[in-house]
């Protein structure tokens, strides 16, 4: 093994994100949240799909534009039907349960995770949070 891999030593630091993973270990920034969403009126599953696809795309593009590396961006919508979105930096893959397309929704649980290398947790958190809010606001 030519590189040094950290063994959980006390000086092990998670505070210095860097893309130089070939020479030293670097943890990615992680944004991961669960939201219970309730809508005033029922919305179509397609609107939810569009809003969340927009979010995944925005985080992906922002990451790529800033020369950061996408680890994995993923979304799961949990309710009577389910939706799974995922991107590792290029396409956005969409999978859903059988009845998803015909479903209209007043409440769902939304889980989102973005794992990105080369930036601080704080920066990712701010960008991801703001973008998510804007995308969800577009639903109603």
């Amino acid at each position: 093994m030519s590189e040094h891999w950290h063994e959980h030593l006390p000086e092990h630091s998670h505070q210095q994100p860097s893309l130089e993973c070939s020479t030293k270990h670097s943890d990615p920034a992680i944004f991961s949240e669960t939201h219970d969403l309730a809508f005033m009126e029922k919305v179509t599953s397609d609107k939810i799909l569009q809003a969340l696809t927009l979010w995944v795309g925005e985080i992906r593009d922002w990451t790529n534009d800033n020369a950061y590396l996408v680890g994995h961006i993923k979304v799961f919508v949990e309710g009577q039907e389910n939706l799974w979105l995922s991107s590792t930096g290029r396409s956005i893959n969409i999978k859903h349960s059988q009845g998803w397309s015909e479903w209209s929704i007043d409440r769902v649980t939304l889980c989102v995770t973005a794992i990105v290398f080369g930036m601080s947790k704080k920066t990712l958190g701010e960008v991801a949070q703001e973008s998510l809010q804007a995308c969800l606001n577009g639903i109603n």
Binding site: M1, S2, E3, W5, H6, H8, H14, L19, C21, S22, T23, H25, D27, P28, I30, F31, S32, E33, T34, L69, V70, G71, H72, K74, V75, F76, E78, N82, W84, S86, T88, G89, R90, S97, C111, V112, T113, I115, F117
Partner: protein, 207 residues
């Protein structure tokens, strides 16, 4: 208990593959526990991020899943995992246990711990998924992590070959082989139905 330990970088396709392997195992091997309400397969999920997503994807398919939360995603959560495995054995004694490690973990280190401290384990295989679509990029940016994940795998699944041309697939295979020439190697696309023969070989393989 037969343990399949899945590793491989973030987003390489571990969960997508586990969905197929789980279906194969539950349909093909579950005769022993047919009359019992105990599952013949239990999946242990260790994922990056507090909002667990993979466990929900697997549960939505009717699979039995236990979550493990990692304090530090790059460090092997050895103690918790061993406790979890031993609990599963005592409570459910399933025929199969699949473990999905985080995309930053070193599966062989986890395998060492399981071998040392796990009880009642009949077989343990380390299956590492490599991402064909991102192989070139990732092996430039973090070669050490990829190598360390792959070097001691029993089985290597080069996934997402639908994204590459045949010549590119051979090139990636060659560079993986340079890291680990002993492992069983399969090039697959988990977006399609994978040939069940590959799952059969992978789960019954012994060195």
């Amino acid at each position: 208990m037969n343990v399949l330990l899945f590793g491989g970088f973030l987003g390489s396709g571990k969960t997508s593959i586990i969905l197929q392997v789980a279906r194969y195992l539950v349909e093909g091997f579950s005769t022993r526990q047919l009359d019992s309400d105990k599952p013949s397969l239990v999946i242990i999920e260790n994922e990056v991020g507090e909002a667990g997503i993979d466990d929900k994807i697997l549960k939505a398919e009717g699979l039995s899943v236990r979550e493990l939360f990692a304090g530090c995603i790059c460090c092997t959560l050895n103690a918790e995992l061993t406790v979890c495995l031993n609990e599963i054995r005592e409570e459910l004694s399933p025929q199969w246990v699949i473990i999905e490690t985080t995309g930053m973990a070193f599966p062989h280190k986890i395998a060492e711990t399981i071998t040392k401290f796990g009880k009642g384990i009949d077989s343990l295989k380390t299956i590492v998924v490599a991402d064909a679509e991102r192989w070139d990029d990732l092996s430039m940016i973090m070669p050490g992590l990829l190598e360390e994940q792959i070097v001691k795998a029993n089985i290597i699944l080069l996934n997402k070959i639908d994204c590459l041309e045949p010549e590119q697939i051979s090139d990636v295979e060659e560079s993986i082989r340079r890291i680990n020439s002993n492992a069983l190697f399969y090039a697959i696309s988990a977006h399609d139905e994978v040939d069940p023969q590959i799952w059969r070989m992978a789960v019954t393989y012994s060195e």
